[in-house]
């Protein structure tokens, strides 16, 4: 009977969407931020708030609009104060600044803790406050100190390790606290936020900087309008005589691009057929073969297309052969991965039936599994063809044949109008190929 007393219904909660509160907070902060010229601090604060609120929701909490407003504005203000300290103190980052920032964040953390506690009385507000204080410290430590410790010749200072350590400890700490308080979302949201903050700082992604940068568009010479008369103008496209390199028309490298794409995708898809069959447990009971193939597939998949291109350019020399080989491996990697997953999900009934009639393994696979996956194979092959054509445009940048070498040359001369024209021409062609391929794929599967 005491069970009954314990199982009281939960107090009714208002199920109001948090979206309006977050939207209002963020846009108000953005507005104030633009006026005050400190957009980034608000941005990061609001982003942190969004991560936190989403984390709470993922953990099954139901923070109300008021909670969202409170969390959002508190953290945005904390973010702004931090940025202020950070910007002002970046020349002389004394321990006192760090303490001040940590204090600001502990106040913010206190409010967050209060909000969390309203919904989950068992949570530990002191722990939450400590966590937010730590994150305030990390906020100072990571982007600011890292930039400051970059010595003259671009080397990272030894204290990078300390900072990386703080970051790791922070992530681990928030995960631990999430486990203690039972609010798992804090851990996920905190980790995502810290990662984003760090990444944004390293990449130099600042919103004010972005606006400044895009004001540069007007200053670029030779950008607009695209020089179509150069790209598709003179010369006769269908005349083989004009296809040699150096002719005013682009027909030669353009056609070379497609030829590279065609050969590479056909060869890649052909080789991918056995590789994919050998990389599926259903068709390959032999463990060493399976493991070796799976490993081979995973490793070649990690190397991007242009890395292949530059490797083969170095190996076999400048020219279309390097491009064909590079894209062969590129298409082989993707095709075997996609297709082996299809083979994995095949219905094993026909295979067992074929085995039951006394067939050996290979004929059984050929007559039962292959017909089942062939439509997918063709559909994937079309998709790979699309991808390869798209990739064949860029491999020329490192000297592996095709239109890329023309683009690279014109880019070197700062002829951006010509580059732009080629890009648009390629875009149209790739677009058309893709639409045709999509049409056929729809019919196949």
């Amino acid at each position: 009977m005491s069970e009954v007393a314990v199982m009281r219904p939960a107090p009714p909660r208002r199920a109001i969407s948090l979206m309006p509160a977050l939207a209002v907070t963020t846009s108000a902060m953005a507005l104030v931020g633009v006026v005050a010229g400190a957009f980034d601090g608000f941005f990061w604060g609001a982003l942190l708030a969004a991560a936190l609120v989403l984390g709470l929701r993922m953990a099954g909490e139901r923070p109300t609009s008021l909670d969202g407003l409170a969390i959002g504005s508190t953290l945005a203000i904390a973010g702004w104060l931090t940025n202020r300290f950070l910007l002002d103190a970046v020349e002389l980052l004394t321990p006192w600044v760090a303490v001040e920032v940590a204090a600001v964040w502990m106040v913010a953390g206190g409010l967050v803790a209060w909000v969390v506690r309203r919904h989950r009385p068992s949570s530990n507000p002191a722990a939450l406050m400590a966590m937010w204080g730590l994150s305030g410290l990390a906020v100072v430590a990571m982007p600011g100190v890292l930039e400051r410790l970059t010595v003259e010749d671009g080397k990272l200072g030894a204290a990078t390790f300390v900072i990386a350590g703080i970051a790791i400890a922070l992530v681990a700490g928030s995960a631990t606290l999430a486990a203690v308080t039972g609010v798992r979302g804090i851990g996920i949201g905190g980790a995502v936020f810290i990662l984003t903050w760090f990444a944004g700082a390293r990449v130099g992604f600042t919103l004010t900087g972005l606006v400044d940068n895009f004001a540069n568009i007007a200053n670029i010479p030779n950008f607009w309008p695209p020089d179509f008369s150069w790209a598709i103008g003179e010369g006769v496209w269908w005349n083989p005589v004009s296809w040699d390199f150096g002719s005013p028309t682009l027909a030669n490298p353009l056609i070379e691009t497609f030829q590279i794409g065609i050969i590479a995708s056909v060869l890649g898809c052909l080789v991918a057929l056995p590789v994919a069959f050998m990389a599926s447990r259903i068709t390959t009971p032999n463990t060493p073969t399976y493991v070796a193939n799976k490993g081979f597939m995973n490793v070649i998949r990690t190397i991007p297309d242009l890395f292949w291109a530059i490797l083969f350019r170095t190996g076999v020399g400048v020219g279309p052969l390097a491009g064909v080989l590079a894209l062969f491996f590129f298409s082989l990697a993707i095709m075997s991965k996609l297709f082996s997953e299809t083979v994995d999900s095949v219905d094993t009934g026909p295979l067992e039936a074929a085995k039951a009639t006394g067939s050996t393994h290979f004929p059984a696979v050929r007559s039962s599994v292959l017909p089942e996956v062939l439509p997918n194979y063709v559909a994937y092959a079309l998709y790979i063809f699309e991808l390869t054509i798209r990739a064949s445009v860029v491999i020329g940048l490192v000297g592996a044949g095709g239109i890329g070498r023309v683009i690279e040359a014109q880019r070197g001369f700062f002829q951006f109008d010509r580059v732009f024209a080629i890009v648009i021409v390629m875009l149209v062609i790739v677009f058309v190929i893709e639409q045709v391929s999509v049409y056929f794929r729809r019919r196949l599967v």
Binding site: T196, R202, G204, I220, Q259, I260, I263, T302, F431
Partner: protein, 318 residues
């Protein structure tokens, strides 16, 4: 009875296939073979080149081995590799953020047909431009550096993620939407409570998947100066310093592989909604020699990582 059994001519007993599929088969074969032959002839690749290609590549790979894991190489490569990761992360976030809203606008079950169609065409057009082209267009605007790479990847991701997410939204069940509508929910509430909870796992899985792809893309972007590891491999191969190039390649492969494995695991977790066996549980279910093998592999991997980090630290101390 005399054993004058007639062996049936099995080939003649088998029914002949109708004409149409056979013709289609030949048609497809011709449609593949002719372009291939045309391409092979048109590329003017000499037979000598093709024949010596394997030995050329073998020479390169042997020159790369063993990779030189010295302080000065690691010191140059590791921060650039991390920069590639950050670029991919920021680019994925840009793509995820914008594509989330565009996906709803491009889904025919949310948006009127003509509007959805036109937004979908915009997404298609964005998708058709490779990241490298975008970066090339952006370099004059935002300059050489990581920001350009992040923006290029972000813009391209908007196209791909928008398409994938809108397809997920279109495949969502109409029931919850009708339920929210029947209790008087507005259009936004229908989307928020009817569609988002259904599609979120799949969409987040696509974000992670895109992150995996973007790491490769950001590695490449360094080649044209948009930040990341690509610049390093170009430099080492340009100076024909193959053992250092080998280090860069190896580090890239290891990092991409690690992110792939983790991300694939998280994606499966998100989609299926249940935890998988952890490495320790998996270890417990193995027989003894597999256990020994796995532990050996793990120890080797960790000590290799520790060695690389130690070299990095040596470079910093020096």
């Amino acid at each position: 009875m005399t054993a004058a059994t007639v062996t049936p001519d099995l080939a003649s007993l088998r029914p002949r296939q109708p004409l149409a599929p056979r013709l289609a088969r030949w048609g497809i074969a011709v449609a593949i073979v002719i372009p291939v032959v045309w391409s092979a002839l048109g590329l003017q690749i000499s037979w000598e080149q093709v024949r010596s290609a394997p030995s050329d590549m073998w020479a390169i790979f042997t020159a790369m081995f063993p990779p030189e894991v010295s302080p000065e190489v690691v010191e140059r490569a590791l921060p650039k590799l991390m920069e590639s990761l950050w670029i991919a992360w920021v680019g994925t976030l840009i793509g995820a953020f914008f594509s989330f809203f565009l996906a709803f606008a491009a889904a025919t079950n949310v948006t009127p047909g003509w509007l959805a169609w036109s937004i979908r065409q915009i997404l298609n057009a964005i998708r058709a431009v490779p990241e490298l082209m975008l970066a090339m267009i952006l370099i004059p605007v935002t300059g050489l550096g990581a920001l350009t790479g992040a923006l290029a990847i972000g813009i391209h991701s908007i196209g791909t993620l928008g398409k994938l997410s809108s397809e997920v939204i279109e495949g969502s069940d109409a029931g919850p939407v009708e339920a929210v509508a029947s209790v008087g929910g507005t259009k936004v509430q229908q989307m928020r409570f009817g569609i988002v909870p259904q599609v979120m796992p799949n969409i987040v899985a696509y974000w992670l998947y895109r992150f995996e792809i973007n790491i490769r893309a950001s590695a490449v972007l360094g080649m044209i100066g948009a930040g990341g590891i690509g610049a390093e491999i170009v430099a080492q191969l340009l100076f024909r310093d193959f053992r250092r190039a080998g280090t860069v390649l190896l580090l890239t492969v290891v990092v991409v592989l690690a992110v792939d494995l983790i991300s694939a695991r998280v994606r499966r977790r998100i989609i299926t909604g249940r935890a998988e066996r952890g490495p320790l549980q998996a270890l417990r279910s193995m027989n003894w020699w597999r256990r020994v093998l796995m532990v050996a592999v793990a120890v080797a991997a960790i000590s290799a990582l520790a060695f690389v980090l130690f070299q990095f630290q040596q470079a910093l101390v020096a």
